[in-house]
Symmetry: D2
Subunit: 316 residues, 4 copies
């Protein structure tokens, strides 16, 4: 597409404001996750959107500065961290195919010798966290993850919501089942409760849309922070993480997200989604109500509007 003087280029800020306004007005908001008691208390009427382009322009709408529990969005960053430390050896522990199953399914593990299908379903992310933990104390591993998030977001105020972590630790029996199952196949190196402790805390990191979009910039720009030019990962690795986000980032709603939004993205049950428009922008959206596949209902709709209005789909 050649942009000539006659082509209308929509104003990013205006589009973001419009969408935030439309989302605020909608009655259909999905259902807040109830399986983590602490998350069930979140007010479903919140909506935030932040878009950061390659020139550092930030467009924010709605509750873009309200921190929320990033939950599974953290899986993108622990995967990045673990690939940096272990390289492609990581792929001995976890596959990179869509699972066709819910985020917490254990059936696939039984059929495939305890090897999770991809790093963006729960067992896969637990296996990645277990790698990061190896040779460290849980406190150190968690510190490393948190420092990485603060570095990427360029914001030392990013913290962990201990209430959410404790809530998940008390009730995370399904994740404990997944971890013990993998442990029975020697897919995990560390004691199950230590690995789960780090995992529950990483999921409980609280960030705003603005912070999350900041943290995702390297994925939109060939592995580099466009503000500083510093490389986080190689261009090839950034591309590949984006590819996994596209095929596996929304559990058994991944196909639908690709079909409607057309961007790599990763969702969390806190209602956040990080989406990447390669070469263009890093995007974070948040609305706590979820759809039937456990992905933010309004978040997905907002991203569909955004890519349509800005022509940002990677598929055309």
């Amino acid at each position: 597409m050649v942009a000539s003087e006659f082509v209308h280029v929509p104003d990013l800020n205006l589009v973001v404001q419009e969408i935030a306004g439309e989302m605020r007005a909608r009655a259909d908001r999905g259902n807040v996750a109830t399986y983590i008691p602490e998350l069930a208390r979140v007010d479903p009427h919140q909506f935030g959107l932040a878009v950061i382009d390659g020139d550092g322009q930030v467009a924010c709408g709605g509750d873009a500065d309200v921190p929320f529990s990033i939950q599974s969005v953290s899986k993108v960053f622990t995967l990045t961290l673990a690939l940096g430390k272990f390289g492609d050896r990581l792929w001995r522990r976890v596959g990179r195919e869509p699972s066709g199953s819910a985020f917490n399914s254990i059936v696939q593990l039984e059929h495939e010798h305890g090897i999770p299908r991809n790093p963006f379903i729960n067992p896969g992310a637990i296996a990645v966290t277990d790698l990061i933990l190896s040779g460290h104390q849980p406190r150190e591993a968690l510190g490393e993850i948190l420092r990485f998030m603060r570095f990427l977001a360029d914001d030392p105020s990013v913290t962990i919501d201990e209430k959410v972590a404790a809530s998940e630790q008390r009730t995370g029996f399904r994740n404990a089942a997944l971890a013990n199952y993998m442990k029975s196949y020697d897919v995990l190196d560390n004691p199950v409760d230590l690995t789960l402790g780090v995992y529950f805390h990483q999921c409980a990191i609280a960030m705003s849309c603005r912070q999350l979009a900041m943290a995702g910039r390297f994925l939109a720009h060939l592995g580099r922070n466009p503000a500083t030019g510093h490389s986080v990962v190689t261009a090839e690795r950034a591309r590949r993480i984006n590819a996994i986000m596209l095929t596996c980032g929304h559990y058994d709603g991944s196909g639908e997200f690709a079909y409607r939004v057309g961007l790599p993205g990763k969702s969390g049950v806190g209602g956040g989604i990080l989406a990447i428009a390669p070469g263009k922008a890093s995007i974070a959206v948040w609305s706590p109500g979820l759809d039937a596949t456990g992905n933010s209902h309004l978040g997905r709709i907002a991203l569909e509007m955004l890519t349509k209005r800005l022509g940002w789909s990677i598929f055309a």
Copy 2:
């Protein structure tokens, strides 16, 4: 990315020739599909590649003009045809999520009331063909599919390899199981043997890489044939078909294809792959030897080289 005079732009023709040469020299060629007896006879030492860009430039390498059995690549075109006739009602019969399973798995059907996961696994494609058949004689439906392929390829010489069709008809018990299973759930409208007859013939369409790349142009250019400017589908529909190709186009190797190649693509057990570089080119590659997931071994490798050398991945 702005292309300045200092950026090296690789010559498309040269890249295609290089890759064809490298592929010809490789000893690892995968295994020719044996489950359709007629396909088992194909010489595995063949390799073809054709790339057609938006200006109509055609770059060909190797056996790019040798016709091969397009098999499941036909699913992209019957989906396009059926969407044109039935619109989004088609999605009542078939989903659009990756299945996480082999191309011919029946387990998913039992767990989901006979509704196939997506139109690019066998049961999904059979359900799509059944829609095209409805209200017609098999001969008419098949004629419509063939005319559509000739129109898209701009080549009236495209035909069906009757030997391959007959071979599959004699041995296609697994597809007959899938079709009867869906019929038991009323997902098919027509008699099973008629639907399968059309399906087996559509899979037996023989095309060269050049013809196939020609036929795929509309997917690379917002739904239009760039040579004539005529619209085949809307830009949105082209994007969405590309999205399904990316998430579901290679069965349980779809994640791997996205990770390595970074383009929407659809493979067939004849060894062909159609890949789309949105806004840039339509690409067809062919090599009969398959990998463990039933996708062309050298075809995938060649496409990985191509996207890397040309910087065509949609993920960066």
Copy 3:
């Protein structure tokens, strides 16, 4: 248990009459099978019971002389026939473990290379029928099965209900799926439509409770017809067929039947059940309404009463 003059031995005829009376009065009758249209027309208010002991005493109650479609009860007799012809080679084609699945599940076949779990679920019985068919015309194979039934029942009037056979042939897509699936694994020798033709006709054999109980006598008496002393199978084979009936005779309701009734038994979706009290009696019961697992609702209840009142459970 030693029967002394002081032990009350209930009168068989009286018990059968009592149970038939109680069953007739009950309002809960289950639901008539609807997936074979012709069976859906059967009046659910019918109930029959016939018990034949080792001395040839016949006790009948209710509609014990009304013929019904024996459906899957035929699987006991085709298994017996096939074991006679092929011996233990039969077990290369079919297992003898409970499946834990519904009668028409295809999932198990995909996980176990097309080998059905046992001869009493649909795919297993189709594989057994295919063995009987081998080397014969369908008409001959069917004639052999029918002659065997007439011989066992000592009644040349046993026939096939052609309407039921035709009804199932028109609508038996699920069975066609199972048969084609096995064919794709070379588990069937004959053309799928021929094997299914024989299978649908064998299921459509119509017999009364009296006839069915007559046919089952050899299983209660060490493989011999107690009236003539003629051996049908060896004592060991009779025991083994009884064992398979106990573990697999009621699909995913087999455990419940063993728990409540405590006899080997085989049910059919026509509402019939053949039950064997080893050393004591052959029993047939019929009531068309089915429970959630596809087994006769009142049939199972009547057998539970019978074994309790007569002390016939094999488990004490």
Copy 4:
């Protein structure tokens, strides 16, 4: 069958001695379970057999007085104990159908909302133990189980092998996965580690064949201890427990055991099997080597010989 003076009644003691001798001489011994490290050390050349009839006659052969880890054989006794305390409410937590799966499969749980198929696979037995634990300290619950075993065996020397319990506690990740999975569905009432603690200790009860056969007498004799006449359970409950043993007692080898042995039985990975000949005898056999389904290889063969030579099959 009427035993006349002309019928040869084999001598029980002689048969037991013969079988023990034959078993000792065999080279095929199966493989000792390795997944519990402490069990992997057991000498596979051991074999014991004990049969106790209704008159209190005890026939022993081989290593019938060597204690072994009863493992899953304990499930029969905890089921009996829990039924005594909770009656049929127990069946809200666990089914009674064969699973068609391995002893430690988790797939079935995911498909059936965390409710185990039957009390004789691991998740079912864990759910039963959880019931026994409710309202008690682990030490108390375990004490109750141990007292029950000593009472049934009429032998206060029965103890728990703490080394085996500790070994399983250290390595029982698969059971921890099952328990956590059920806990996520609220099928367990108690903290997972407490329930598992009791479960691992109950499995580590060490008994000889003689002791185990003593403990099983009530199941062979209408719920009563034939020596004292004291009732342990009702006759109906004894029958029903036997029925579950027959359909579910050997995991995915249950059909084979019924087919070959023809008695209700329950095996454990320690190589023990308790088998019941209703009205005749309680039987315990032990040989540490297991077959592919996790059941004692020689134990099953010995029982097949025993029932054949004594005519004890329940199926004829």
